[in-house]
Structures are given as structure tokens and as C-alpha cells.
């Protein structure tokens, strides 16, 4: 794991994007998702999920790669860890699942950096907080956000039902309305990093 406070960012143009088969959401609605979460909780205990913050630069400003579902909902690439799975390994697995091409030959070598944020879900609801509320001893989910350092050239294959967007930090900042509390506060988490904007 790379633990520097410097992030090298390359322009979007240095990456190639392709498509791959549709990756359907496991849940059709929020209620389904919460119900599934409950079932998993009884089986496996608190869910740990990991998400990756992939950064590129455009116009000397960092952009985050987000997966857009439908027309409005954006999420970071990542997902739930299997019980007992290592966080970094799990994140690499999820990143490959979401963004890497299916052929085994072209697996990106994911460089997972620091964990920059941890969010907690105290109840089986959609609300998450950047802390575990003091009266909750058994949070239902813990979500960890990691910076992922991309190398200069990568090939990403995006599922057909998703769109990969490069969203500038200023667009996320203070925009809870559209991106939610977790994603809209990423600029704050990244503010301590020094970005090397590398131009080709």
C-alpha cells in the first residue's frame, strides 16, 4: 500500500475506455437493498464495504471517476467485502469486477492508497455518518474509501448499463443534493493531498 500524500494524476486522455457486458444491480429498490442487508447481517454480521477513489486530471483539476447508474445516481466503484476478506484485496477484486476487462490478460495493477474516509451505517437505513453514533454499539455497515493511484496507461471496460464519468472536485463540493453526503465530501478528504498534474 502506498501511503504518500502525493497523488499523480494523468489526463483522462491517457486512459482507454471500453465496454463489457451489463452488470446488473443486485437490488431493484432501496427496500430490497435494505432487506438484503438485514439478511446478510444476520448471517455475517456487520458489512464492510470498500470503495475506490480513482483520480484523473483535466485542466489541472482533479477529477473522480464515478459510475453512473441510470441518469442520476452516481456511485464509487467498489462493493461489499466477503467475510474475512482483506480490505485491499477486496477492493482490488471489486475494482476489477467493475472496471477491468474480462480477459485475464489485461488486468490492471491496482495501486490502492490510503483510506481517506470511513462512513458508518447505524441502522438498516440509507443514512450513513462519518462516525458511529455514540448510542450504537452494532453498526450495520462500515464503508471505507480508499484513494487508488492510477498509472499512466490503463484500459477500463465499463459495463454497458453504467456510465463512467470523470467528475471534477468542484462539482462534488457542497453538492449533497446530487451526490450524497459520502461523495460530496470527498473533496474535503482529498484536500490534504498534493496532486501532481502530469501532462503527456
Amino acid at each position: 500500500m502506498v501511503t504518500t500524500s502525493v497523488v499523480n494524476t494523468y489526463p483522462l486522455s491517457s486512459y482507454t475506455f471500453g465496454t463489457k457486458e451489463t452488470k446488473m444491480e443486485k437490488d431493484t429498490s432501496v427496500a430490497d437493498r435494505l432487506a438484503r442487508m438485514k439478511v446478510n447481517y444476520t448471517k455475517e454480521g456487520m458489512r464492510t464495504s470498500v470503495e475506490g477513489i480513482l483520480l484523473v486530471q483535466e485542466h489541472n483539476h482533479p477529477h473522480i471517476l464515478l459510475l453512473q447508474i441510470g441518469n442520476t445516481f452516481c456511485k464509487l466503484p467498489g462493493g461489499r467485502l466477503k467475510p474475512g476478506e482483506n480490505e485491499i484485496e477486496g477492493l482490488k477484486r471489486k475494482l476489477s469486477s467493475k472496471l477491468a476487462a474480462n480477459s485475464p490478460g489485461i488486468q490492471p495493477n491496482w495501486q490502492v492508497g490510503e483510506c481517506v474516509a470511513i462512513w458508518w451505517r447505524p441502522n438498516f437505513e440509507t443514512i450513513m455518518y462519518p462516525y458511529c453514533p455514540p448510542h450504537i454499539t452494532k453498526p450495520k455497515e462500515c464503508k471505507k474509501l480508499f484513494v487508488v493511484h492510477l498509472s499512466e496507461r490503463e484500459y477500463f471496460a465499463v459495463p454497458k448499463n453504467l456510465k463512467l464519468l470523470a467528475v471534477p472536485l468542484f462539482e462534488l463540493y457542497d453538492n449533497v443534493q446530487r451526490y450524497g453526503p459520502v461523495i460530496s465530501t470527498i473533496p474535503q478528504q482529498l484536500s490534504r493531498f498534493q496532486f501532481n498534474m502530469i501532462h503527456p
Binding site: N123, P133, H135, T137, V176, Q177
Partner: protein, 534 residues
């Protein structure tokens, strides 16, 4: 995705009911007089109990209120005298206890008193609880009544939920907990009494902090009863808790408030209500009205706002919307129009004093927003003014006046610290025109930044003044522009909330802001620099 406006309306219903209870008390006004009324109502109790087996559906609020307490159905026949007697006791206790009122969670206390009313337990905790509840009996009945009017109309609703015997109740509410009392602590104590099915804590949606009460469900009604007896007053972290049986309507209330995103309101309300009730007894109707108004209004405006702006004048439209307790509506109309101006005038100063035990850092947003609420509602668009004029034109006029008063005193009189920030920065702005502008601007921006952060913390507060945007950058342009930044309200709003009106507004705002950010800053600099040199 998430709770829709419907849930917000439900939450409004709950608050509405609560406010009705408040209102009813206001109509009784002074405690001494209220007592007399209560004695009269004892007779009504007898009458009501007789009615139970016959059926409900009476227009009188109280009858359904009592009738639908199936808990008491079987035992009620015996009770009238007991109740009459015990009720009288409680009445006498109340004035004494009212003085020592600590702030109860209003909902919890309602439950307690509601349970106490029946007297079926006849245990000592009952009178204490009632004593602790400053609200008069009629209010309690009213509070039960109002939600039940609907349920009565709906038919034998509650019966499905709760069997007629109290023994079958497996749900308890445990309240008066510290916000740091954990679910594990609760569980360790509760499991002594039986198998716990579920413990559901109620917390503030904005912060995740516990509201200090939870809903406990056992598998076995017997253990529920033993637990209630055994755990009542149990010391959790040095604070005795309060336990009450849950009934269908209170569960419904809790659920709707729990699901609602504006839960912090419920929190601030009970606390505010505690001392407010005492104020009512002493003839301070202003606070109560405000609170009641807030509650009343919420129902109709939960959709638009998080409910905070629904102060006083809300009584009118809500009454029109909801066909409950026609009698109560009658109170709200004239009462509000009469009371509005004094409430408005007193409010900004009065509120911090209303709930001194409330930590403004936690609940300031709720309290502060109360003060701003009137302005917010006044600023509300279309439907609301129309509604108001329908019902209480006097109130509307009074409110307008109050609003203007508020605006003029905006900078100076604001109570909570964030308001203080505002006031200071405004003063500074005025001063900066005299002194070097650039220098002041720098410091202003810091102030504004701070106050911006404060504002971001205050959801309802922001929403109240959504039509007065505080763009700190725009302040540079216009010292006396008190428009609040819309984006602050969007910042507080939850991501997946479906408030289309504010969302569209904030979207356009966001777009505007993006452009504005670079532009306004440049123009500010330009303007400023040119100023002094001219």
C-alpha cells in the same frame, strides 16, 4: 428512493396531533382553571367508558380517544369511579409537579399519561408520571383523541394491531435516556426480563445522535409486563428511565417520526414543550402557540420544508387539510390570529430562554429556527398565503407585520450564535464602507465563511430563510442583501430526499453559483478597488 413526502406528512400528522394537545391546553389556559375543567371531564370519562362497548365514532374527540384504548376495554367498567378518584388525585398533584417539571420527551410523557389515564395498573408510578407531565388531562385525551379520530373513522383499526387485553402488548417505549446510553446497555438490562425481539432507537436524522428513547419489543407479553414494572425508573448512566407500553397509535407516531427525516424536530419539540407548558400555565401563551403552530403547520408543509417553517399561521391551512378535531381547529384560528404578533415579537429573545437546559449546540437549530420560522413561512410561496387568508386573515396580516419586524431586526436581534455571526458580519459590512474595504472584506469573508458553516449546520434554519440567500460572496456586492444561500440548504438536505422544489431551486442555484464563484469574486475585487479611489 427514500422516504417520500408522504412520510413527511405523516410526521406532520404526529406533530399536528401533538400541537392539538398543546392547543387544547391553551384553551384551558391557566392551570387553576384547567383543573376545574378536568374535574368536569371526569364525568365525561364515566360517560365515555360506558360508550366503549357501544361503539365509537362520536365527533367528540375524547370519546374515540378513550374508546379505542382496547387495553382498557375489558377493565373499564370497573374503573370509572377509580378513575374519577385517581384522576382527581392527579389533578391536585399536577400543579405542584408542574413547577418541578423537567423536560420530558413529550411523546414519551404522553404515553405515560395516556397509560396512566386508564388507571388499569393502579401502580404508584402512574401518578408520578402524570405529575411529571405538565400537560393537563384534557390534553392527554386530546392527544390520544386526535390521532384516533382518524383511526376511529377508519374503523376497528387498532384492534388488529393490539389485542384488547393489555397483556398481549409486547412493545414498550423506554425514554429519558442519555444520548450516549447504548443499545448494548439497554439490551443487557432488558434481557433479564425475557427474550428481546428488537430494540429500535430513535435518533436524529441529521446527526445520528440518539433522541434518548427507544422502542423495545419482546416476544412474550408477560415478560413485557414484568420488564415494564421492573425497569421503570431504572438508572441508566445515572439517569432514571421512563417506561411505557406502546399502543398502536403511538407506535404509528413513532414510526412515522422515525422514518421522517426531520426527526431532530421531534427532539427539539419535546424539550421545548416541557418548559413551554409551564409557561402556558403561567399565562405565557406565546411559546405554546409558536410550538403549536409549528406542529400544526408541519403537516401541510412537510413536503416543502423540513417542517420548521410551519409556525403559527400554519394552524389555519393545516386545519383545512386535515379533517380532524374540528373543535381544535376552532381554537387554532382565532387563537393564532390574536396571538401572532406578540409571539413573533417575543420569539427571537424568548426562545433561548424557553429551554435553558437544551444545549443550543444540539438543538439550537431547532430552537433558532423557531424564531425564524415565521419569516420562513411568510416567505413561502403560493399555496400558503392563500390558505392563510382563507382561515385567519388577521393572523396573516399579523404575520406579515411580524415578518417585516423580523427582517429589520435581522442583523441585530438574532439569538443563537449563528445569528450572532450574521449580525456581526453585517455590522462589519456596514463599517467596512467607511474603513478600507479590501481589508474588511478579507475579514468579512472569514466571518461569512464561519457563519456559512454555521448555516450549513442548521438545516431547518436554512430552509426557513431559503428565500433570503446568504451568499457570502454576494455580500461583497451588496451589504444589505440578506438573501441566504440556497446551496446551504441543499447541503443539509439529504441526498436522496425527494423535495423537488428545493432541489430544482438548488440545482439552478448550483449552476448559477458555479458561474458566480469565479465571476463574482472578480467583480467584487473590481468594485471594491474602485470604490475608495473614487
Amino acid at each position: 428512493m427514500d422516504p417520500t413526502a408522504d412520510e413527511q406528512l405523516d410526521y406532520g400528522d404526529e406533530e399536528y396531533r401533538g400541537s392539538h394537545k398543546m392547543q387544547y391546553h391553551v384553551s384551558g389556559t391557566i392551570h387553576a382553571l384547567a383543573e376545574d375543567e378536568m374535574l368536569g371531564e371526569d364525568d365525561e370519562y364515566d360517560y365515555l367508558y360506558n360508550d366503549v362497548n357501544i361503539g365509537e365514532g362520536s365527533e367528540e374527540a375524547k370519546i374515540p380517544g378513550i374508546a379505542t384504548k382496547e387495553n382498557y376495554a375489558g377493565t373499564e367498567v370497573q374503573f370509572p369511579q377509580q378513575n374519577g378518584g385517581s384522576l382527581v388525585e392527579r389533578e391536585t398533584e399536577r400543579p405542584a409537579d408542574a413547577a418541578q417539571k423537567s423536560r420530558p420527551s413529550a411523546l414519551t410523557m404522553n404515553l405515560n399519561s395516556q397509560v396512566g389515564n386508564s388507571g388499569y395498573q393502579g401502580s404508584m408510578p402512574m401518578p408520578q408520571k402524570i405529575g411529571a407531565d405538565p400537560m393537563a388531562m384534557p390534553e392527554i385525551n386530546v392527544s390520544e383523541a386526535t390521532p384516533l379520530v382518524n383511526s376511529v373513522v377508519a374503523g376497528p383499526r387498532v384492534v388488529q394491531h393490539m389485542p384488547s387485553l393489555e397483556n398481549a402488548n409486547t412493545m414498550l417505549f423506554v425514554g429519558e435516556l442519555h444520548w450516549w446510553t447504548t443499545d448494548a446497555e439497554l439490551e443487557s438490562v432488558l434481557t433479564q426480563y425475557g427474550n428481546v425481539k428488537e430494540i429500535k432507537f430513535f435518533d436524529e436524522r441529521a446527526s445520528g445522535k440518539s433522541k434518548g428513547y427507544c422502542q423495545v419489543e419482546f416476544f412474550d407479553p408477560g415478560s413485557t409486563a414484568t420488564c415494564k414494572e421492573g425497569i421503570n425508573g431504572y438508572n441508566f448512566n445515572g439517569r432514571p428511565c421512563v417506561v411505557a407500553f406502546a399502543t398502536a397509535q403511538t407506535i404509528k407516531q413513532m414510526d412515522s417520526s422515525y422514518a421522517n427525516k426531520t426527526q431532530n424536530q421531534v427532539q427539539s419539540q419535546p424539550q421545548g414543550r416541557g418548559p413551554m407548558n409551564e409557561g402556558v400555565g403561567r399565562g405565557g401563551p406565546n411559546y405554546t402557540l409558536g410550538d403549536a403552530g409549528r406542529n400544526l403547520g408541519r403537516g401541510s408543509w412537510g413536503r416543502r420544508e423540513t417542517g420548521m417553517p410551519n409556525r403559527g399561521p400554519g394552524g389555519g391551512p393545516v386545519r383545512g387539510k386535515r379533517s380532524r378535531g374540528a373543535g381544535y381547529g376552532g381554537f387554532s384560528g382565532p387563537a393564532f390570529s390574536g396571538m401572532m404578533p406578540p409571539f413573533l415579537a417575543v420569539n427571537p429573545m424568548g426562545h433561548p430562554g424557553v429551554a435553558p437546559h437544551v444545549n443550543p449546540a444540539f438543538f439550537g437549530r431547532g430552537m433558532a429556527a423557531n424564531g425564524m420560522g415565521i419569516m420562513g413561512t411568510a416567505g413561502m410561496d403560493g399555496p400558503h398565503p392563500g390558505m392563510w387568508t382563507d382561515t385567519s386573515g388577521g393572523g396573516w396580516g399579523g404575520e406579515e407585520h411580524g415578518r417585516r419586524t423580523r427582517e429589520s431586526s435581522y442583523g441585530g436581534e438574532d439569538n443563537a450564535s449563528e445569528y450572532g455571526y450574521r449580525g456581526v458580519s453585517h455590522d462589519k459590512e456596514a463599517r467596512s464602507s467607511v474603513v478600507s474595504r479590501e481589508k474588511e472584506r478579507g475579514s468579512e469573508r472569514d466571518w461569512s465563511g464561519n457563519s456559512d458553516r454555521r448555516y450549513r449546520d442548521e438545516r431547518e434554519h436554512d430552509r426557513d430563510r431559503h428565500d433570503k440567500e446568504h451568499r457570502y460572496r454576494e455580500e461583497m456586492d451588496d451589504y444589505r442583501d440578506y438573501r441566504q444561500k440556497e446551496r446551504e440548504s441543499e447541503y443539509e438536505e439529504e441526498y436522496d430526499r425527494g423535495q423537488s422544489s428545493s432541489r430544482s431551486r438548488s440545482k439552478s442555484q448550483a449552476a448559477r453559483e458555479e458561474n458566480h464563484r469565479s465571476r463574482s469574486r472578480d467583480t467584487n475585487y473590481g468594485k471594491r478597488r474602485r470604490g475608495p479611489s473614487e
